[in-house]
């Protein structure tokens, strides 16, 4: 038996490493494509290595907030809050890691109590010293209904605010904190492993490390769409809940404390964010959801008076600020009747007998 595949894997790894080195020219990509096309064995070997290599970016979650350039010792992960106690070691932790402190408390309540007090005292003292020479950059922005606004943050990140959105910023040396109290915002985060980028919304912390993602609040719900990099979604109210790691292409929806994550293609994720260019894209979207989308952007609200219309499926690209065109189209293709009542567009089902004539 040959070692054919072992050699192929070595070659695939070298391709991956060369491409990873940067300065990758079209010519090299063409050569790689050719190599991949030569044999399905080449392609599967490369795909397999590439998938794991891409996944390994998740490890950035451990580094968030840590000092850049410091490589953790082996097994140090165990002290991170990502690991369940059973996975971790019982080594007493240093001041690093709240999780470890909690675990210790269960064992030696008294010592832990003292330790905790010392920690609090140290934190307070440190805090006062810290405040002397640290500076917190604060700012807030808001948008009116139908408006969009691009905000350049002091760290080089940008935030794109959607309709009726309030965003508050508090950037310090240690953390880039933002709070989304209303609406929706898309973030293109400047890479800075030493300062986590955290968006607080609906009782959740959405943490990013060099990433593009969108956070949206709506009627008690929270939606996070990740188009690049990796985002950590964690309940702020219940820190014991395991965080959800969202790689690019994730759409996470939080309702009543439950997190549902769907994986879509990068294109689909980007499509969900087409509001940034003033458009909305529907694919077999229930009419009720489509209407809600328009209502986010238009003062003239659309009301579905007949709930049997809710489930009609709508597709197409629409300009967000032109709900009239949307309504006209609905009337043309569906048994829908629209009329203006008290400044609202009310949709009802067209009587069958009427359409027959």
């Amino acid at each position: 038996m040959t070692d054919k595949h072992r050699q192929i894997e070595r070659d695939a790894a070298l391709w991956l490493a060369r491409r990873d080195a940067g300065g990758w020219a079209d010519r090299q990509q063409t050569a790689l494509d050719a190599w991949l096309a030569e044999d399905a064995a080449h392609r599967v070997a490369f795909l397999r290595l590439e998938a794991a290599w891409q996944e390994s970016a998740r490890l950035q979650a451990f580094a968030a907030g840590d000092v850049a350039g410091r490589i953790p010792a082996r097994g140090e992960w165990a002290r991170s809050p990502y690991f369940a106690p059973s996975l971790g070691s019982n080594r007493a932790a240093t001041t690093r890691g709240r999780h470890a402190t909690l675990r210790k408390r269960r064992r030696w309540p008294i010592f832990a109590g003292i330790a905790a007090s010392l920690l609090v005292a140290a934190a307070l003292a440190g805090g006062f010293v810290w405040r002397d020479y640290t500076h917190v950059d604060r700012a807030a922005w808001e948008t009116a209904m139908g408006a969009r606004k691009v905000v350049h943050l002091p760290d080089g990140s940008t935030a794109t605010l959607g309709s009726e959105t309030d965003l508050h910023m508090a950037f310090s040396r240690g953390e880039r904190d933002l709070e989304l109290t209303r609406g929706e915002a898309f973030f293109d985060v400047a890479h800075d492993t030493a300062r986590p980028f955290v968006v607080h919304a609906n009782g959740y912390r959405v943490t990013a490390v060099g990433t593009r993602f969108d956070v949206r609040r709506e009627a008690g719900q929270l939606r996070v769409v990740v188009t690049r990099g990796l985002v950590r979604l964690q309940s702020a109210r219940d820190p014991a809940k395991p965080p959800s790691m969202l790689p690019a292409g994730s759409i996470a929806t939080v309702a009543d404390g439950d997190v549902a994550i769907s994986q879509v293609t990068a294109d689909e994720a980007t499509e969900a964010l087409s509001w940034r260019s003033g458009f909305v894209v529907f694919h077999r979207t229930p009419l009720a959801d489509a209407v809600r989308e328009f209502n986010r952007y238009n003062a003239r609200q659309i009301v579905i008076a007949d709930s049997s219309l809710d489930a009609l499926r709508v597709g197409g690209n629409f300009k967000l600020d032109n709900s009239d065109a949307f309504v006209r189209l609905m009337q043309a293709v569906f048994p829908v009747h629209a009329q203006l009542q008290d400044g609202k567009i009310v949709l009802t089902r067209k009587p069958q007998a009427h359409t027959a004539h």
């Binding site: 040959t2 595949h5 192929i8 063409t30 599967v44 998938a51 794991a52 490890l59």
Partner: protein, 220 residues
Amino acid sequence: MPYDYDEAAPRFPHVFGRRPACRGLRYLRDMGSPVDDWFVREVLAHEQALMRFLHRNWRDHDEVPDLRQEIYARVYEAATRRVPDSPKSFLFATARNLLVDRVRHQRIVPITAVGDIEQLHVMQDELEPGRWLGGREALARLARALDRLPDRCREVVWLRRVEDLPQKEIARRLGISEKTVEKHIAKGSRMLADYFHGGSDAGAAHNPARGVRAWMRKST
């Protein structure tokens, strides 16, 4: 023999600038084609179960990574023609067929073995729907995988993947050549892939051969 990640014999093809060899239309896909995505999502997700199956049913464990890649290549080729409805069953059916083929090609195949081979069975846990790991689980596995890399390799992978430093900068910082950084990345990617896809016991020796596996030994 432990799995060898080092480049014992660098045989990297000098194909930069070579014209693409367009052999068969079905491979003229770009990276990120639907079949590629399908393969990563639906097939690689079962690697741990596949490795268990191969280790249990093939006596020479050294050959298991080679078998695995052969199975992947067959599955991928089949999928470019038609994507199987049930990726997991298809993967294991392909695995079974490959093992049977290999046994039949051995010089001496005892009659009793053939009957048994037909029954090479897939364990229940291997048939359960597989799935991508949850984020937390994947993270734990990656952390363990990283910890299994040799020191220098681990350092390079950390600086590259976590701190996002360019290879050039890593070389400067560690005082090694860019070529060496590249080698560490290549080796690291292979080890990470084995641990990440195959689980923590990937490549490790399993139970000694039993039953039909006893017949499936290497003819050396």
